[in-house]
């Protein structure tokens, strides 16, 4: 799990707990549950990063496809498809990490406001 994924939440003031979103009543122990949920989402984000790494490792140069223009075009599209799969995994990882961060913020809010935590999750 890369460092600092959750820190990006602080870059989105409009999504901070207490700045809007949806109120819910969270007793203190619910904060622990939200943190545990955030941990699971962080694991999912780490798995996304690992998958993205696999797609990156799959890259090959054009040689195995051949030297004809048609083979080079095929190789170029293969490379583009791999890049697309890597991008998919990274976007999922980012989105999942964002959700984990928001759960953590909501858990903190639960602690600081007692029974009036907020969890903002709008995309």
């Amino acid at each position: 799990m890369p460092e600092g994924r959750g820190s990006r939440i602080s870059d989105a003031p409009g999504l901070r707990p207490g700045a809007g979103g949806f109120a819910t009543r969270n007793p203190p122990e619910k904060g622990d549950r939200l943190r545990a949920a955030a941990d699971l989402l962080d694991q999912a984000a780490a798995a996304d990063d690992k998958a993205a790494g696999r797609f990156a490792e799959a890259r090959v140069d054009s040689t195995p496809f051949g030297i004809s223009p048609q083979a080079r075009e095929l190789a170029a599209r293969w490379a583009t498809a791999l890049a697309a799969r890597e991008a998919d995994a990274r976007v999922l990882g980012d989105a999942t990490s964002d959700l984990a961060g928001r759960l953590r913020m909501a858990a903190v809010s639960t602690r600081s406001t007692g029974f009036r935590g907020r969890l903002a999750v709008a995309p």
Partner: protein, 190 residues
């Protein structure tokens, strides 16, 4: 005689079979049939290795989705909002789309490797048959015969070899077209 260096073993064999034809072509100054084979040379094993890595990545996305769902379930049991659940459903759907696209990419990679293999083998068989059929005029040319008939036969055989290779190469365009839909990201989260 030194074996020609090709990635694909079938083409190594074909190049060997075409050595006399190539020598005759050189004497007559017509197109080199072995050089034509180079345009079809490929290394399907490397592409299979690449596809295998993609398949591993696809399984990784599926595993990530399972962990994502576990986290979402825990959050919902922990008092998350309906809005959280709605957004989580959206992300979950994108996980499924990404996993499908990755699995499809891996499968097509394997098929591309198989097809390249088939084309190389088929071309090799075809050009070897052409060379075998022209063995008499090839021998005649190599022995110094320059009669119109043998020269024409050797030249026509070299042209046929080149055409056979070109036909196989043309098949790659269809594979590229199949790959095209997988070249764009499928995850859309904004």
């Amino acid at each position: 005689m030194t074996a020609e260096v090709f990635e694909h073993p079938a083409l190594v064999s074909a190049a060997s079979e075409l050595s006399a034809l190539r020598a005759a072509a050189g004497r007559l100054g017509v197109a080199d049939p072995v050089a034509a084979l180079r345009h079809l040379d490929c290394a399907p094993a490397s592409i299979r290795t690449s596809a295998s890595a993609v398949d591993t990545g696809a399984l990784g996305v599926t595993a990530a989705q399972a962990e994502f769902r576990a986290g979402v379930e825990r959050a919902e049991n922990g008092g998350s909002t309906d809005a959280f659940g709605t957004w989580a459903d959206t992300v979950d759907g994108q996980y499924a789309a990404a996993a499908r696209a990755a699995a499809a990419t891996a499968a097509l990679g394997v098929r591309i490797a198989d097809r390249l293999d088939e084309l190389a083998v088929a071309a090799s068989e075809e050009v070897c048959a052409l060379a075998a059929a022209a063995s008499a005029p090839v021998s005649a040319v190599l022995a110094g015969d320059r009669s119109a008939e043998v020269v024409s036969e050797v030249s026509a055989t070299c042209t046929a070899v080149i055409r056979a290779v070109q036909e196989k190469i043309a098949a790659l365009t269809a594979l590229a077209a199949e790959l095209e839909p997988l070249t764009a990201p499928v995850v859309e989260l904004s």
